[in-house]
């Protein structure tokens, strides 16, 4: 349990990044999310904006920032589709808030924990998406949970590679 809990000063440290990283990384995530499906075809088993939201929410440990970043990226994602704007926004708002709230309590430097968080928050996002679409809005939507499971695995793998790279660009004291 001591591994999980954030009880040292270093664990509770708020990560800071250059302003350019805050702008370019989410933008790159959105652009790549829109462009990569043309390369990989139907295998869109990843959600880069969600991975980036979780990363910054965990690093900044601020639920408000996580909420706003998740909401903003989700709205941009929705705007690229032909669906209602706000479905992804709500899902990622919740994901950002939860990731930041969890980041206050556990050791987010641990890779295994970050990847597990990515996996579970990806599934949660999918669940919220279906709930809003089918229950809240009452719209028809066929759904494949296998695809969502694969997407959660894909997000975890991307996080495994991307998080250490982004860790390198943070400002250290």
């Amino acid at each position: 349990m001591s591994v999980l809990s954030a009880n040292t000063r270093r664990d509770l440290e708020v990560h800071r990044y250059p302003l350019l990283v805050y702008v370019l990384v989410p933008l790159a995530a959105l652009v790549l999310q829109a462009w990569l499906p043309r390369v990989v075809g139907r295998y869109v088993w990843f959600d880069l904006p969600l991975v980036v939201t979780i990363y910054f929410a965990l690093g900044r440990r601020s639920p408000i920032q996580g909420t706003l970043m998740g909401g903003g990226l989700g709205l941009f994602e929705d705007a690229l589709t032909h669906h209602a704007i706000g479905v992804n926004g709500i899902a990622k708002t919740v994901a950002g808030f939860l990731a930041a709230s969890v980041g206050v309590r556990i050791d987010v430097e641990n890779h295994t924990i970050r990847i597990l968080l990515n996996f579970s928050l990806s599934l949660l996002c999918s669940g919220i998406y279906v709930f809003i679409y089918r229950v809240l809005l009452g719209l028809d939507l066929e759904w494949s949970w296998l695809t969502e499971l694969l997407k959660a695995v894909g997000n975890s793998l991307i996080a495994f590679v991307l998080f250490p790279i982004l860790d390198r660009v943070q400002i250290r004291d």
Binding site: A34, A79, I132
Partner: protein
């Protein structure tokens, strides 16, 4: 009070953001008469503004990535990989010659067709103008099968224009921005295109399923629908002109919601997952662009006389064929007919066997047994064949054409055996 806000600041911000988005969602969805909810097809001004901003933010980097990819590709193909160009050039020149000949030959027919359509006040939609565009991006979600083109309203694109490739249809333009356009692919769950099965002539509506496969929905179970059958556009949806290839039937599955209905899964003719260059049909009005008119004039000038000569030749052949003697000799037994004589190396091509013969298939009709049938003398049948040469030869032809391995022509077998008997025992 201040401590309450500072204490629950995070939760309050979360609630505020969520409520704002839920209210935003509520204004985009409306309830239709049937009680179900539906999304407004035309975005409101606020929603459209968000989409436009996002498009303005995302499209330029996508365009940059795409053009750099194209630049690297063209560097290779235009400067480095130039082998076999002369050979290709020669083949292309031959193709141009052939196409000019065909165009000159078809031009008069096309003009006549248009005149006739005008006479009967029937306007068929043909593709008269297309605009080539590059697919530069997608929605990034497998729940929304839309993609973006690098051309927009400034290039003459508009909503509901059909998007195709030379292989088949792709989708229709859903939204247009100044320099880009959003295309709804045919494999999206909200897409809809009127289609028709080529041989069975069954009509249906094509839309996508959760796996991104186009499927024809809302048709009754029919045994005649088989994998491999071609699917074409039906032309009734005001988007796609009639007769464009859609794909082939991949499989037929039961509709999980309605027992007597089926879903026909279609393998699309166009590669929907790997689209690069597409054509947008910008006009279906019967007019030719100056370039097309120039091409037609060139074809007529260069190949017109040649095409006319070929046409005359074909007409003469047809007239001659009409005056040639028939291929059915009533004096010969069925197995010696020229059509069926296997010993003749220059035999005539036989008509293809029906896949599912029924009572309407030529040669399989059962003649009601007359009371005198059993008493008919062996010589009686050939006489009747001579009396009605137009009516009787059909069973003669159908039975041997079906062949000994044809298992579904029981009605003709006894008839032919009865007729063959007197020939064997004169």
């Amino acid at each position: 009070m201040e401590s309450f806000f500072s204490r629950y600041r995070n939760l309050l911000v979360l609630l505020a953001v969520l409520v704002a988005q839920i209210v935003g969602l509520a204004v985009q969805v409306r309830r239709v008469d049937s009680g179900r909810s539906t999304l407004d097809t035309g975005d409101g001004s606020g929603v459209r503004l968000i989409r436009m901003w996002t498009n303005a933010l995302i499209t330029p980097p996508e365009r940059l990535i795409h053009s750099s990819k194209l630049g690297a590709g063209s560097l290779w193909s235009n400067y480095i990989d130039l082998r076999h160009v002369r050979e290709q050039n020669r083949q292309l020149q031959q193709t141009i010659d052939r196409l000019q000949l065909e165009q000159a030959s078809l031009l008069e027919d096309a003009r006549q067709g248009q005149r006739l359509q005008g006479l009967v006040n029937f306007q068929e939609k043909y593709i008269y103008a297309t605009l080539a565009a590059q697919a530069i991006g997608s929605s990034g979600s497998d729940q929304s099968r839309v993609f973006y083109l690098d051309k927009g309203s400034s290039d003459g694109l508009d909503r509901d224009m059909a998007v195709i490739t030379p292989d088949g249809i792709v989708g229709k333009i859903r939204d247009v921005f100044p320099h880009s356009a959003q295309v709804l692919a045919i494999n999206d769950q909200t897409a809809g295109a009127g289609v028709i099965l080529e041989s069975t002539r069954i009509r249906g509506i094509l839309r996508g399923n959760a796996a991104g496969q186009p499927q024809i929905v809302g048709i009754l179970a029919d045994q005649r629908i088989q994998p491999g059958e071609k699917v074409l556009t039906a032309g009734g949806d005001m988007v796609f002109p009639r007769g464009l290839p859609v794909g082939v039937v991949e499989k037929v599955v039961r509709d999980p919601d309605r027992d007597s209905f089926i879903h026909v899964i279609v393998k699309p003719a166009a590669h929907l997952d790997r689209l690069d260059e597409v054509l947008v049909i910008t006009s279906t009005q019967p007019h030719f662009s100056p370039q097309e008119q120039q091409d037609l004039a060139t074809s007529e000038l260069v190949k017109g006389p040649e095409a006319a000569a070929i046409k005359e030749q074909k007409k003469a052949s047809a007239i001659m064929a009409e005056h040639l003697p028939g291929l059915i000799d009533p004096n010969l037994p069925p197995e010696k007919q020229p059509l069926l004589d296997s010993s003749n190396p220059n035999g005539v091509a036989r008509p293809p066997l029906p896949l599912h013969p029924d009572r309407f298939t030529p040669g399989t009709a059962v003649t009601p047994a007359s009371p005198t049938d059993s008493e008919t003398t062996p010589q009686a049948k050939p006489e009747s064949a001579e009396t009605h040469p137009g009516a009787k030869p059909k069973p003669h032809l159908a039975t041997p054409a079906s062949g000994p391995d044809h298992k579904t022509a029981p009605a003709t077998q006894p008839d032919s055996s009865r007729q063959a008997t007197p020939q064997r025992n004169p």
